[in-house]
Symmetry: C2
Subunit: 242 residues, 2 copies
């Protein structure tokens, strides 16, 4: 059953980034946001698992480690559905550019690794809309793990996939968990025609690639379409104080 196969009909654009932890996707989308804003575009940013609706429940469930793969998956889907309805679709309707740090593909990777059926979780997110660009930041596991493990003093329980019982050592569990997630992303690259970016490059080189792809996707897009993107025109002229 193919999902996300129809282009949405909203005047705005939806650009999302995906990849394992340490792939640099959050850095890239933050840079993209600044660049788009500097070009006069109206941008709205949203990130995974941030809806107020289920935040507290997810936090509590994680803390007490009472979530099963199914309830874990359902809570994330609820979060996503809530954000889609209140944070993603309204700005798209208003003609804005929506940037999302992680999208349904994150669920397809993580939830499947946790044990839910790939077809079940894909159907679960069937209400989602197809992004205009889905960037996948491709990076070897060891590079990503080095980036995370050298920058962070602590890795959270679920971030390391400790609930899966892969290893009692957090770092080791993190690596094993990331490897499994990496495997799921590999499958999705072709399944969802993700725009793959070589994430081993320098930050500015990756950003050039990202901007080029976004420029291409925005060819048919006018920032004048919406009042949100209108900016007062400012004229400068030299003058002398006598």
């Amino acid at each position: 059953m193919p999902i996300f196969d129809k282009k949405h009909a909203f005047p705005g654009k939806l650009i999302i980034v995906e990849g394992i932890d340490g792939s640099g996707k959050s850095t890239q989308i933050a840079l993209l946001k600044k660049w788009l804003e500097s070009q006069g575009f109206s941008v709205f940013f949203t990130e995974w698992n941030s809806s107020e609706l289920v935040k507290e429940t997810t936090r509590e469930g994680k803390k007490r480690n009472i979530l099963t793969p199914t309830t874990f998956s359902l809570l994330h889907a609820t979060d996503f559905a809530d954000r889609l309805n209140y944070q993603i679709i309204p700005p798209l309707k208003a003609g804005m550019i929506v940037l999302a740090d992680r999208y349904a593909y994150t669920a397809f990777a993580r939830d499947v690794v946790r044990g839910v059926h790939p077809a079940w979780v894909r159907n679960l997110y069937n209400f989602a809309i197809k992004p205009d660009i889905s960037f996948y930041f491709d990076v070897p596991i060891h590079v990503a793990c080095d980036r995370i493990l050298s920058n962070r003093t602590q890795i959270k329980f679920h971030e390391a996939g400790m609930d899966l019982g892969l290893s009692l050592d957090t770092k080791e569990s993190f690596k094993l968990f990331q490897t499994k997630i990496f495997g799921e992303y590999k499958k999705m690259q072709t399944e969802f025609a993700l725009t793959t970016v070589d994430a081993t490059l320098e930050i500015h080189d990756d950003q050039e690639i990202v901007r080029a792809a976004v420029k291409e996707a925005l060819k048919d897009y006018s920032k004048k379409r919406t009042i949100y993107a209108k900016r007062a025109k400012v004229f400068w002229r030299r003058f002398t104080v006598s």
Copy 2:
């Protein structure tokens, strides 16, 4: 895609009741529970939308009326998944009889009426297990509505389907909502081979029908299978205090 089509392999039995509000299903399952207990069976009772995990979220979401059909559906599925894992499967594994007031069919009826896709919500509950008996209490809308409207001073906002905007009058909305739900149950009677009970009969007549069906389903079931069902044997003998 057929769901719930395989018999579960647990030693216990799962008996569920379904029907529109006012069909008498809760009364019948309460009587069934007492009767089974009086027969020495170990019984566990669970009801719809009662999991502690998402109770507060559902309550808040309803109160503020911020739930979309999708998030509404997902929260109920999360509740169900949580109860399935912690309340339904463990007693079934222990060989107990689990009685559920409402099951996934309630979601298939209500969520579809609220606007979610019938196939999507059926797939959503694909992790559920097939009950050993699914009673459907069939009653004409006007009878059910009379029962509810004569016994209750107030009908809650979501209970009356007020979120659907069918009518500004609570009672009228309730009737219209129940009629739509009734239509969904009608479709499910054959789809899921529900055991239909004529719910216009007297309470004790319905209970006789229910007990007969349960007896039949328990033919291959031994209450001695589990330590939970073991009862200390008590012997009585007459004696005289001299």
